[in-house]
Amino acid sequence: MIDKLILYLSFPYVRYAIIVAVLIALCSSLLGVTLVLKRYSYIGDGLSHVAFGALAIATVLNYTNRMVIVLPLTIISAILLLRKGQNTKVKGDAAIAMISVGALAFGYLIMNLFPSSANVSGDVCSTLFGSTSLLTLSANEVFISGVLAIVVVGIFILFYNKIFAITFDENFANAVGTNVGFYNLLIATVIAIIIVLAMNLVGSLLMSALVIFPALSAMSIFKSFKRVIIFAAISSVIGALTGLLVSILVGTPVGSTIVAVDVVMFFVCYVIGKVKG
C-alpha cells in the first residue's frame, strides 16, 4: 500500500494534483459560512446544476479548455440568481428551480445527442460525482484551478472585514454607506468560481457538501467568526487530503471519499459542540 502511495507521489503531476485539490478545498470552505448564514445554500445548489449544463455543452463542443465556457456561464447565472433572490423570495426560489433543473435536463440531453466519447453514462457520472481519479483532469485544468483558488483566497483575505460586515448585517452595512451591491456581486462571483472549482474536485452533485460541511463543523464548535473560518479551512483541507490519500490507496472515487470524510468530521464536531455545551 505504502509502495503504491510512494509510486504515485513520485510523479510530479500527482503532486500538483494534490496541491490543487488542497487549494480547492481551502477556498471552497471559506465562503461556506457566508453561504449558510445568508441562506444562500440554495443558490449554491442551483448553480452546481447550471455548471453541469455548461460542462455538458463544453464537452460536446470538445473544447480542450472547458473552463472557458463553464466559468462565465456560472458567474452570470450566479449574478442573475442573486438579483432574483433579492427581489422577491418566492419567485427567486422558482427561478432557481427552473434554471437549475432545466440546465440539468438539457445537459444530459446534449450529452446523449452528441456523445463525445463511447461512454456517455461514464461521462455523465463523472460530471455529477467527480472524476474517478483526479488524474483525469487535464494539465490545463489543474493549472487554472490552482490560479483561481489562489485568487479566491486572496480576495477573501483582502475583503474579509467587508464580507463579515455584510454577512452579519446587510442593512447596517448599507445604512452606514458600505457599497453592499458591489460586495454582493463580488460574493456571487466568488461563489460561482468556487462552485466550478469544487465541481472539478467532487462533481456537481457533491459540491454543496464540500462547501457547506466544513462550515457547519466549525460553526458547531467555535464562537467567533475568525475562528470559525480558520477551522472550516483547516477541516476542509484535512478532509481533502485524507479523502485523496484513501482514494489513491483503496481505489475509491475521489469526490465521494472526500465528502464522506467531511461528513464524518461534521458528526464528530457536532458531538464535541454538544458536549462542550
Binding site: 448564514l37 441562506r39 460586515a165 452579519f168 445604512a175 466549525a218 464562537k223 467567533s224
Partner: protein
C-alpha cells in the same frame, strides 16, 4: 438649516404608500422620538431616512454637511443574527466599516475606538463572548457599541428596548440619554410614549400626520 428634514415625504413599498405627506425637521442635538402603533410605518420611515429604500415622493434632506458615513444605526434584530457565530469584539469593530474607506484592514485607532465603545457600554467582560449566547439586553448593548463606532453625529435606533425587561429597559434609556447629553443627535423609534416622554425633547407621532 436642520440636520435632517423631510419635505412632503410619502413612503411605502412598490408604489403603495404606508405614510403620506410627512414634514419634519430634526436639529443637531435633538432627542427625536418617533412613536406610533405596530405596523404604522415607523421602521419604513427610518429605512427611508437611512437611504435603505427610496421614497415614493418627496425627499429626505441632510443639512449641516451630514454625510451617510457619519450616521450610526441600531436596527430591529434580524433572524440571521440570532445564530451568528461572532464575538462581541468582532461585531463592534464592524461598526468602523464606514471609516475603512479604500483600506482593507482596520487601523490601531479603529480597534481602540471599538474597545472604548465596548467599555462605554459596560460590556468589557463580554468582549470575547459569542454574540448568540448573550441576553437580549447585552445584545442590544453590543449593537449600540457598534453603532457608536459608526458615528460622531447622529444615531438612529429602531425599538432599542423591544423585548427587554423593565430594569434593563430603564438602563438602556439612561445609556441613550447619556449619549444625547454628550452631543449625539438621537432619532429613536418606540411604541411606549410614557417612558420616552421623560427623555425626548421632540415626540413625533406618525399617526397624527395621516
Amino acid at each position: 438649516m436642520a440636520l435632517i428634514s423631510a419635505n412632503n415625504l410619502t413612503i411605502g413599498y412598490d408604489g403603495h404608500p404606508v405614510l403620506s405627506n410627512l414634514n419634519f425637521e430634526i436639529n443637531a442635538g435633538d432627542y427625536f422620538c418617533i412613536v406610533g402603533e405596530n405596523g404604522s410605518g415607523k421602521t419604513t420611515l427610518m429605512k427611508t431616512i437611512l437611504g435603505l429604500q427610496q421614497p415614493i415622493s418627496g425627499a429626505i434632506e441632510f443639512g449641516e454637511g451630514l454625510a451617510k458615513n457619519q450616521i450610526g444605526y441600531l436596527p430591529q434584530q434580524t433572524d440571521v443574527q440570532r445564530d451568528f457565530p461572532a464575538s462581541v469584539y468582532e461585531i463592534v469593530l464592524s461598526g468602523c466599516q464606514n471609516a475603512l474607506g479604500k483600506k482593507f484592514f482596520y487601523s490601531k485607532e479603529q480597534k481602540a475606538l471599538a474597545l472604548s465603545n465596548i467599555k462605554k457600554m459596560g460590556i468589557e467582560h463580554l468582549k470575547d463572548r459569542c454574540y448568540r449566547e448573550l441576553s437580549g439586553g447585552q445584545q442590544q448593548r453590543v449593537l449600540l457599541a457598534r453603532a457608536l463606532c459608526a458615528t460622531q453625529r447622529a444615531l438612529l435606533l429602531d425599538e432599542p428596548v423591544a423585548g427587554l425587561d423593565p430594569n434593563v429597559t430603564a438602563e438602556m434609556y439612561e445609556l441613550i440619554k447619556q449619549l444625547n447629553d454628550d452631543g449625539l443627535t438621537i432619532i429613536m423609534i418606540s411604541h411606549d410614549i410614557q417612558n420616552v416622554q421623560g427623555y425626548a425633547n421632540r415626540i413625533y407621532d406618525v399617526a397624527e400626520e395621516v
